[in-house]
C-alpha cells in the first residue's frame, strides 16, 4: 500500500503547487474560471459528505448555496456590511437552515428524502421570487462588492487576490471535511451508509450522525454560495432550485462519489465543459449528457476510479485475476487497504 499512498500524496502535492502558482500562468479570465472551479469543488465535496459518505442523495443542496449567497448579498446591500466576516454569517445561515429543516427532512430516506430536499430548495426558490423587496425577485441582487479584509481593507478587488482568498476559504472547508471523514465520525457515517440497522445495532446514534452530516454539508455549501456571490457580484433565484442541485449531483457522480477528491474533479470537468465547450459548439449540453451517460455505464465509480479501472482492464488482458473489488476510496480506510496491499504483493 505504500506505493498507492505515495502516488496519491505526490499527485496532491503537484496539484497544490499548480493551484498556488496558477496566477502566474493564467490570465484574469482563466483565473476567474479556476476560482469558480475551486468554489464549486467545495460545494460538490460538501454534497458528497451526504451522498458518498452517508448515503443520502439530496436534491436540495442548492438551498444552502443560495442561502449563503443571499445572506452576504443582503448584508452588503441593506446593512452595508462589507467585511469578509459576512461569510461567517453565511455559514451560520446555512447551518441554521439545516438545523431547522433537518428533523423534517431526515424522517425519510432514499427517494422520499430526494423529494423532500427538492421541495426545500423549490420552496426557497419561490420565496426568493416572491419577495422582490428583499431578494430582488427574479431580477436578483447585483453590484455586490468584494468583501474587505480586517487589516488590509479593499484588497480583494483584484482577481488574483480573490483567487487566493477563495483558495484559503475552500482549503479550510476541505480540511474540515478531510478531518471529519478520517475520524471516527467519518467511519460511522460510512457504516450508516452501508447498513443502518447494523450501525444502530453497534450502538451508533444513526439519526444524530445523519443530522450532523446534514448540518455540516449545509454550512459548507452556504460558504461556497457566499464565495460565489462575491466572485460574480450577483445573486439571483437561479442559486436555488432543481437545476443547480442536479448540476452539483452530476459533478459528484461524474467525479466519483466514493472518493474524497472525486467531486472536485467532477466540478472542474462540468464547469470546463459548460464554459469552454459551449464556446465551440452549441451542442455542449449534448456533450455533457453523453459524457454523463458514458461515465455511468463504464465508470460508475466516477472519473476518480479511472486509474483503478484501467489497471483492472490491463490485468484482465494479461490474464491475471482482477483485484478484489472493494470500495475504492482514496481516503485511507486502514483495514480495507491492508487487504488489497496483501493481494498486491502476491506475484
Amino acid at each position: 500500500m505504500q506505493r498507492r499512498e505515495v502516488i496519491h500524496s505526490l499527485v496532491l502535492a503537484v496539484c497544490g503547487v499548480l493551484l498556488l502558482g496558477a496566477p502566474l500562468a493564467l490570465g484574469s479570465y482563466g483565473l476567474t474560471v479556476l476560482t469558480e472551479i475551486v468554489i464549486f469543488a467545495l460545494f460538490a465535496m460538501s454534497t458528497n459528505l451526504l451522498l458518498g459518505y452517508t448515503g443520502l442523495a439530496s436534491l436540495g443542496q442548492s438551498a444552502f448555496f443560495g442561502m449563503g449567497g443571499y445572506c452576504v448579498a443582503i448584508l452588503a446591500k441593506d446593512f452595508n456590511l462589507h467585511s469578509a466576516v459576512t461569510l461567517l454569517a453565511a455559514i451560520g445561515a446555512g447551518a441554521v437552515l439545516a438545523l431547522v429543516t433537518g428533523p423534517v427532512v431526515l424522517r425519510s430516506t432514499g427517494t422520499y428524502f430526494l423529494m423532500l430536499t427538492l421541495a426545500l430548495t423549490q420552496v426557497l426558490f419561490g420565496v426568493a421570487w416572491f419577495l422582490p423587496g428583499i431578494t430582488g425577485g427574479d431580477n436578483g441582487l447585483g453590484g455586490i462588492a468584494r468583501p474587505t479584509l480586517p487589516l488590509v481593507g479593499d484588497v480583494l478587488r483584484g482577481t488574483t487576490a480573490f483567487y487566493y482568498f477563495s483558495l484559503v476559504c475552500v482549503g479550510i472547508g476541505i480540511a474540515i471535511l478531510a478531518w471529519l471523514v478520517n475520524s471516527g465520525f467519518g467511519l460511522a457515517l460510512q457504516g450508516v451508509r452501508e447498513n443502518e440497522l447494523v450501525a444502530a445495532g453497534l450502538g451508533h446514534p444513526v439519526w444524530w450522525l445523519k443530522y450532523l452530516a446534514y448540518i455540516i454539508a449545509g454550512a459548507l455549501s452556504a460558504l461556497a454560495g457566499g464565495l460565489y456571490t462575491f466572485l460574480t457580484s450577483f445573486v439571483g433565484t437561479s442559486y436555488f432550485g432543481i437545476a443547480l442541485s442536479a448540476e452539483v449531483l452530476v459533478m459528484v457522480i461524474l467525479g466519483g462519489s466514493r472518493s474524497f477528491w472525486g467531486p472536485a474533479i467532477g466540478a472542474g470537468l462540468v464547469i470546463l465543459l459548460r464554459d469552454e465547450v459551449s464556446s465551440w459548439t452549441q451542442r455542449w449540453l449534448l456533450v455533457l449528457g453523453l459524457l454523463f451517460v458514458v461515465t455511468v455505464l463504464f465508470l460508475p465509480g466516477g472519473i476518480a476510479t479511472l486509474p483503478e479501472r484501467l489497471s483492472q482492464v490491463r490485468r484482465k488482458q494479461r490474464g491475471q485475476q482482477p483485484l478484489v473489488s472493494v470500495a475504492k476510496s482514496l481516503t485511507p480506510v486502514q483495514s480495507v487497504e491492508s487487504a488489497t496491499s496483501h493481494q498486491e504483493r502476491v506475484p
Partner: protein
C-alpha cells in the same frame, strides 16, 4: 356552483395528464426501484412527435398513438441496451436518466427549434360546452374521459391479468418472483416500455392543452414527481388519488391565491410526507 364545475373540470383534466405521466413513473419505481427522471423528456418527445405527425397531415388520434408508440419503442431500446446493464443499481440508473434528460433536451431543440409549439384539438373535440352554466372546453372533458378509461384499463391489467399478477408480485418481493421462475427481465422490459409509452401518450394528449417548448420536460417532471411521491411509489390507485389531489388543489390555489400556488403544492407534499412518509398508498419504507 358554476365555479365548482369550472374548477373541477380544469383540475380533473390536468389530473388526467399528470396521472398518465405519474403512473408510468410509479410502477417503474415500484417494480424496478428506480426513478425515471427522463419521464418529462419522454412527455416532451411524445408531444413534439405528435405535432410533427399532424403537420404531415395525419389524423390527430393516429398521431397521438404513433407518438406514444414511438416513444415507447425508444424507451424499450434504452432499457434493453443501457438500463439492463445497470440492473439493480438504482442510483446509477437515476443518474443515467439525468444524462438522457440533457441529451433529449438538446436534440429536441435542434430538431424542433426553440419556439413553443401547439396542436389544435381534433375536430371532434373543439369548442366548449356549457355545464350548468359553466363554460367547459370540450377537449378537457375528452381528457377526463380518456384519463378515466386508461386508469380503468391499467387497473384491470394489473389486478385481473396474469401479467398484472407478475408485476404485483415483483413489486412485493422481486427475489421470490425470480425463484418462482418468472422472467423478471421480460417483465421489466414490458413495464418500462409501457411506462414510457404512457408518458409519451400524455405528452401527445397534452399538446393541444399545454403545448410544448424547451423547459416543458422539467416542468412536467417536477409535477409528476410530486404526484408519484404523494401517491406512494408503486401504487396505481395512489397515483390516481394523488393526481386528483394535486390537480384540483393546484387549480384551486391558482384561482384564489395565485402568488401562493407555487408553494402550496410543495407545502402539501412536505406535510404529507412528514405525516406519512410513504405517501398515500405507498408501502412502508
Amino acid at each position: 356552483m358554476q365555479t365548482i364545475i369550472g374548477i373541477g373540470a380544469i383540475g380533473i383534466s390536468y389530473a388526467s395528464l399528470l396521472f398518465l405521466v405519474a403512473v408510468g413513473l410509479s410502477i417503474v419505481f415500484g417494480l424496478m426501484r428506480f426513478v425515471n427522471l427522463a419521464s418529462g423528456s419522454f412527455y416532451m418527445l411524445g408531444a413534439y412527435l405528435a405535432i410533427s405527425i399532424v403537420h404531415r397531415g395525419m389524423s390527430f388520434w393516429l398521431a397521438v398513438l404513433i407518438g406514444g408508440v414511438v416513444v415507447g419503442l425508444i424507451g424499450l431500446a434504452i432499457e434493453q441496451t443501457i438500463l439492463q446493464r445497470l440492473h439493480r443499481q438504482e442510483l446509477l440508473q437515476v443518474c443515467l436518466t439525468i444524462g438522457l434528460m440533457y441529451i433529449v433536451e438538446d436534440l429536441a431543440r435542434v430538431i424542433w427549434g426553440g419556439d413553443p409549439l401547439r396542436l389544435r384539438p381534433p375536430a371532434s373535440l373543439r369548442g366548449s360546452i356549457s355545464v350548468l352554466g359553466a363554460v367547459v372546453p370540450l377537449y378537457r372533458v375528452g381528457l377526463i374521459v380518456i384519463g378515466i378509461i386508461l386508469a380503468l384499463v391499467l387497473w384491470l391489467l394489473i389486478e385481473r391479468t396474469r401479467w398484472g399478477a407478475f408485476v404485483r408480485a415483483g413489486v412485493d418481493d422481486l427475489e421470490m418472483c425470480e425463484c418462482l421462475g418468472i422472467n423478471t427481465r421480460v417483465v421489466f422490459a414490458v413495464i418500462f416500455t409501457v411506462g414510457v409509452f404512457l408518458s409519451g401518450l400524455a405528452g401527445a394528449l397534452g399538446a393541444p392543452l399545454l403545448g410544448v417548448a424547451p423547459g416543458t420536460d422539467s416542468d412536467v417532471l417536477l409535477m409528476a414527481l410530486i404526484v408519484v411521491v404523494l401517491g406512494g411509489l408503486g401504487s396505481i390507485s395512489g397515483s390516481v388519488l394523488a393526481s386528483l389531489v394535486v390537480g384540483i388543489l393546484d387549480s384551486v390555489a391558482r384561482m384564489r391565491w395565485p402568488g401562493a400556488s407555487f408553494f402550496i403544492i410543495y407545502a402539501i407534499m412536505a406535510v404529507v410526507l412528514i405525516v406519512r412518509p410513504q405517501g398515500f398508498r405507498g408501502r412502508y419504507i
